[in-house]
Symmetry: C2
């Protein structure tokens, strides 16, 4: 069982990089979590936003095994409380083995990627930058595991 | 018109301090935003959690003018989309002049502080650490002003 988190492009703000690293380290005791930052599509390879999204979709899809359960981070996705997210995370990994979260680029996902998704989740009703989604997702996965393990996750 | 953001205790994670600083700097072009980190109550001054919360409430209340419109960050508060939050922010500042946001300590708010609040908001259905709430709040205030000013806030 492994959890993959797929991102397109590097994290730009140094403080968000540090935050993500912090949670990935702490997650190590609970699960195998692979953080993947895929290279942006090069400008010479696309002309339109749709072409860019298709290229990004192809890049993401090349990282997925056919059996991997794919969860997209999407504004229109399902919202959870942290406790319900923990349960859902537990069910997903138990039933599917490998799961992957995918965080889109600035223009969102191409339809081919939407069609591949097995679930869509949203972390807030508010619009979050893709960089902030990265931090919040690892924080909620960490919180989820601490809930599942009955360990209090102090608000520090 | 000024916006005060009241916190109890210092930010502990360096990356979150950097993130908050980043957004406060960027907010400078839109509004006067005062970031206040109040000193934790000292252990010798309280015996129970309720006494601690009461002490924290007194510390917060000493920072508020009677006319200040107070908004508590609370899990049971109202959720917003970023666009609705921008409108609400605009209404609050237009109708009330000075407004203040208050982010609680690890044990939440004392009733005396709840009674002083004019509104309660929640940034997500998920449980967020108080440190994360700090970052997300300044990010959403910044996003709100960029929406109100018709400036695209790129997801960077």
């Amino acid at each position: 069982m492994a959890i993959k988190i797929l991102n397109i492009g590097k994290s730009k703000s140094n403080y968000l990089v540090k935050g993500v690293e912090d949670y990935l380290t702490r997650l190590g005791k609970y699960a195998i979590v692979q953080w993947v930052e895929l290279q942006d599509a090069r400008k010479k390879h696309y002309k339109t936003v749709d072409e860019l999204k298709k290229l990004e979709a192809d890049i993401f899809l090349s990282e997925l095994k056919p059996s991997t359960f794919l969860i997209g981070l999407d504004e229109k996705g399902k919202g959870f409380t942290s406790r319900d997210f923990a349960k859902q995370l537990n069910n997903w990994t138990r039933e599917n083995g490998d799961i992957a979260f995918v965080i889109g680029g600035a223009f969102g996902f191409h339809d081919t990627l939407y069609k591949r998704m097995n679930a869509k989740i949203s972390l807030s009703n508010m619009t979050l930058s893709h960089q902030m989604v990265r931090l919040l997702l690892v924080e909620q996965i960490y919180r989820g595991y601490s809930i599942l393990n009955g360990e209090p996750y102090h608000n520090d």
